[in-house]
Amino acid sequence: MTPFHILQVAPEVIDRVPGAYAHFVLPFCVGIVFCICWLGVGLVRVLANLSSSDRKALLLSLINPKTLWKDIKDIFCDCLLHLKIWQRKPLLGYMHSAIAFGWFLIIILGHLEVWLFAPRHLYLDNGALFYPIFYRYFIWVNPEHTTLRGSLFFFLMDLCLLYILSGIGLAIFKRFRSRLLGMKHTTKPSLMDRVALFSLWGIFPLRLLAESFTADLAGGSFLTLPANALLRFLFGNNLYYLPWWWAYSVCLGLFFVSLPFSRYMHILTEPLLILLRNAGIKVRHPRKGYAEAEIYACSSCGLCIDACPMNVQKKNLRFSSVYFIRFLRRHNEKKINRIADKCLQCGKCLALCPVGVDSPAIRRRQRAAYNDVLPFDYSPLKAPAPQGAVPGKVMYFAGCMSHLTPRIIKAVLEVFREAGEDFVFADENGGLCCGRPLLLAGKDRAAKTVIEANRKMIMESGCSTLVLSCPICLKVFKEEYKLQGIEVLHYTEYMDRLVAQERLTLKKGEGSYVYHDPCELGRGCGIYDAPRRLVGSVGELRKAEKEGDESVCCGGSLGSLTLSYEDRKKITAGALDNLLANHPDRIVTACPLCLKTFSDASSDVPVVDIAELVADSITRT
């Protein structure tokens, strides 16, 4: 029931249709109600498929002021302003923020306008569902009572509309010329994508037309009034405006009905993903719960296509994350498995994803769905305890891959000795794998077994610091081992610290170097600066074409289960081209796997490991 005191409308307006209904609102109402129901069911499905501990974490995050503030900030920056896209591709960022933020503003301002001028229509029994959307149809201005606040709203609404229309213009332009907005490849839209896309393109031009047709009666500003004058010049003074309001409503309705089946679903589902992510929830099942939230939040923008290192060959485009998510959404099991197995797990798609869909993690869950049942028997294996007294010392764990590249081990040990570090070498005579390759292959139970064995060995040794020379090990030691009280360091961090503490002095040489960020070290563990400082202190550090979190996988990754040797070679060649953009004398890397892969492929430019570079540059006193 509408309270009596707001039955009146403001003096600026005439409540032309007191019953607040016209037939043309029906398409919009059907669309929005359908969409809201769909979202409601989806929300329940996602929440029901979360484990109870995850649900509890979500609840706790929503009452914790700190995470709540982060939620609000992230939703505002990512869903409305799209700052992540702005940072990488400003024009594309402008397009997204114009449509999202502009639309958000126009909804807020529209409701504010109704609240100020005709508040009784904000009640459900008085048309609250559609009234603010079609306000200019239902209300006419009172020519005898114009005020500043009335004109201000006309101006703001037109400004927002112009803002959105500029974004829509860019979007239409991008559909035909995506390269100009910084995208080489983009996704092929499905049928429902097209329906949603064309209705999205139509909504705001139609709104402009509808409002222009009524601007002389319902008011307008710099956009709608001149348009109205033009229309009256063309069609005479009595404009027939109803068809345009119908068209606007139909277009909105069509958009909302097609929304759940199209890529534009991300507009509404991304906030849920942000809430879940900030609550610290991880993907547990490849299709349900958190994964479902991610799948529906994927905007299918296709930024991951250009990002994927496999796409140096056009035939691999179909293995990109965006198609993986699309097939997951459609439950296309056969294609999902093939795509899941192919991925290198370099994580670049995740680093560049504007929505933050962790598709590498979903792929690992998918692999686990069929590989975790495979047999294993690790009873003969053991993690040998290191010789001698360890407590309080530094422990060095080389890992499988470093044992395959003994030059790294030799250099690391030399640096240890030069710095006078009292250390023990854990797997000098062989040891267990760290477990990361098993996790990448989806053999989770097997991985847990080796992780437990290694963890026991390390915890019992009582060491204070663990230094690793393989980023693959580093990642799993940091994420899965839970080594309380033990500092886990990559040797680049450790050596950087030695230099800072002046336990090691390096002399700067003549050579120029380019540093290759290994996937697991950079994107995996966020270590970018320490290795660069080290390289910079022994020579001239040159830039690669793409580096940091955009660095290109060397092609040797253990992440892919099915990529062939020939395909890997092409990826390696592409990665080398990227590194040699500024003609360095040597390539430096910090991962035994990258070192081996690049050494085999690079014939002209020598490849070295940072440890070797440091060991060669130590000033001995």
């Binding site: 003969p380 891959m401 395959l404 005579n429 099915t562 796997l593």
Partner: protein, 109 residues
Amino acid sequence: MMDFGFYLTPSSTIELDKVDRKAVDDLARADSGFRTCIACGSCTASCTAGVFAETSVRRAILSVLNGRDEKAMDLLSSCMLCGKCMMVCPRGINTRHLILSLQKYYNGK
């Protein structure tokens, strides 16, 4: 057993009649490495698990070709998929995929 200073080994005769040609074909279709392997033994030499237990991709492939699939599974049960064998293979065989294919094929059989 009494130690006589010498002992008898179980027969290592291979009955090629027992070889399941279909299994070999299926596996070769799943991973061509079963056909391209030259049995050089680089994989076995570099194996992490091989330090502790009999683990060998080379012998596993040979066992499959000789119809001894149980032996093949045994030889790979300690594998931790670390990928060193893949890095050293002169034939560019994706050994990790080969191992997983083998385990998938014979698991539960």
